[in-house]
Symmetry: C2
Subunit: 353 residues, 2 copies
């Protein structure tokens, strides 16, 4: 998509690796007082100021996690940061720094790197995190982005996947399934475009689900909300692979089962409308679609009153003694065994396990 469109594109070789990294990172300031040394030395130095460090890393690969046919590079850079900040938020911690590594084939000019880093810079500003390291390198083919995120938390606040107890309530932030329906619209319009490049893509009326897919946000606000509500979650995970897969992770590591109530799963009206139009079940999008980057967590039953009317949270089920997790079907109350059919980056198709 980037070759030969503009005659003034700059090959990376014109700057070299050191020059490119300097060019890309000089727009970044340091906003966190915990960042003592940023980009430019052998390592970054962070002052944890008595807190625990949380660290997480994630890779996005072209042709596996994204299609540059319809994902703008700036959005890609933004989303790559969000995916990692979401992991820090899922430990009930506050993200503070990131490191970014980009491997790209020589079809990517300097301007492509600039677009990616513009998205990264936007995410850094919005989430108040500092870019403190990373590198750029060439690759044999395609684009691979790796981001490592660092966060800080007081020891007592850290929330693992393993703390849920039977009868704990299962809570989710925001709504689910939108990112997956946005992906379906992008793929449909991209197929139309490939068949006939004169056709204008139809994006009107899909703004919410497209934004959920192309420009997701990390729920770094939840930690503050829960602190204000005086709720200490007992376990927590972010929804990257789909609700079903994440529930099974909590179940597995907490050694409990869950009952998930189908009718409680929060769905945006546009997610439902888009799914209806595509003859798709929006509950399936929520269960198996992934990439919503909402937080899924458990609370003790005694905290129910604190969150029951909060617009950001929905109680969708509870933990059980049984090791098996079920969805309670809408209407019939039939128990359907939950399977992890989440999206698997290595299989590139729904995983069966």
């Amino acid at each position: 998509m980037l070759e030969d469109k503009k005659p003034q594109l700059t090959p990376v070789s014109a700057l070299g690796e050191f020059g490119l990294i300097k060019h890309l990172t000089e727009q970044f300031g340091l906003a966190n007082e915990t960042t003592e040394v940023g980009v430019g030395d052998d390592g970054a130095v962070i002052n944890p100021a008595g807190k625990r460090i949380i660290i997480s890393t994630d890779t996005l690969a072209e042709g596996v996690h994204f299609n540059l046919g319809y994902v703008p590079l700036k959005h890609l850079g933004y989303k790559a940061v969000i995916v990692n900040l979401s992991d820090i938020a899922a430990m009930n911690a506050t993200p503070t720094q990131i490191l970014v590594s980009v491997a790209a084939s020589n079809r990517f000019p300097v301007e492509a790197f600039e677009e990616i880093y513009a998205g990264i810079a936007l995410a850094c500003r919005r989430y108040n995190v500092d870019l403190v390291g990373g590198d750029t390198t060439s690759s044999q083919a395609g684009l691979v982005l790796n981001i490592t995120a660092i966060g800080l938390a007081d020891e007592a606040d850290i929330t693992k996947r393993s703390g849920a107890k039977p009868n704990d309530l299962l809570v989710v932030s925001g709504d689910l399934g939108g990112a997956y329906m946005g992906l379906q619209i992008l793929e449909r319009e991209h197929a139309v475009y490939l068949a006939n490049p004169q056709m204008q893509p139809v994006m009107e009326g899909y703004d919410y689900v497209l934004e959920r897919q192309l420009k997701p946000e990390a729920r770094t606000d939840i930690k503050k909300l829960l602190t204000e509500l005086e709720v200490q979650p007992t376990s927590m995970i972010d929804i990257s692979d789909g609700l079903a897969s994440e529930i099974l992770h909590l179940a597995d590591q907490s050694k409990v089962g869950f009952h998930l109530y189908e009718e409680k799963i929060p769905l945006d009206p546009q997610t439902i409308a888009t799914a209806d139009e595509l003859n798709f079940n929006p509950v399936t999008a929520a269960l198996n679609g992934g990439e919503d980057y909402e937080l899924l967590f458990t609370i003790t039953p005694s905290d129910y009153e604190k969150i029951r009317n909060h617009p950001d949270f929905t109680v969708i089920g509870h933990a059980t003694e049984s090791p098996i997790s079920y969805m309670v079907a809408r209407g019939s109350n039939e128990l359907i065994k939950l399977n992890a059919q989440g999206w698997d980056a290595l299989l590139n198709k729904p995983e069966e396990e």
Copy 2:
């Protein structure tokens, strides 16, 4: 190199991403008491115990940083860790944890990942670092390894590139140029093999330079040595791109120049013999070859007596007021301006700057 050699190779799809990561990481224990949560949650949790955190990341890409025609996957995994631990050592810090991300095309079976992780595990054991996170994903082509290393240090011990003062002495650990000469032997023998696969590669007599290239070590021992000698380095960097390039980094960030004495550059006899055989100047290998992963640092002149007879250290020059750095030629004492012709992963040829 891996296709169809053994009929029993296992496609990654047989395990899936979660299954593969679990399979690969279950051999890893946790050895550091600072590691509170390792692999298996949204993020790892590290207790810095009052120290500063040092963090660094590096990517190795097939066809750019390594050629699988002659680099065994186990060595590659080991070296990928070493490269990052070396960065932590270069901040005068102690590495404690790593995160590993592997992107590989589907020509790599499970057994290839196992080999890479066997090398990673060996490095973890030898350097007492814990694997605490990472991921595996597929890629469009080739193999890309990204490793993030975390280390800890007391604030007072951290040594940046920027602390050198005029008249400080320039010191290097170990010897230089060996890794580059090892690469030349590997490339020569690989070319012979490609021309005639019946030919046995000639590796005898090159054991030291081959090991420097294929299985380098990180000088994490230097911090302890310097503490014992009661020497606080004023600036420090590791030698990944070649001595000349690293000297210029110290000069640039410390706002000094350097005089480097050609005759003082430590060279192993096998490095010299191999260079002679290939009609190559071993000093050029030291200056521009890179990948030696020794440490280059400065000390105040008053510390000279403490290290002058230490077998691990060689004083090779000193810092000057001038912003320009020179090599003082052997014999003639001619001043030759130092240029960064270090290896550049994006240009994939010596960089001119």
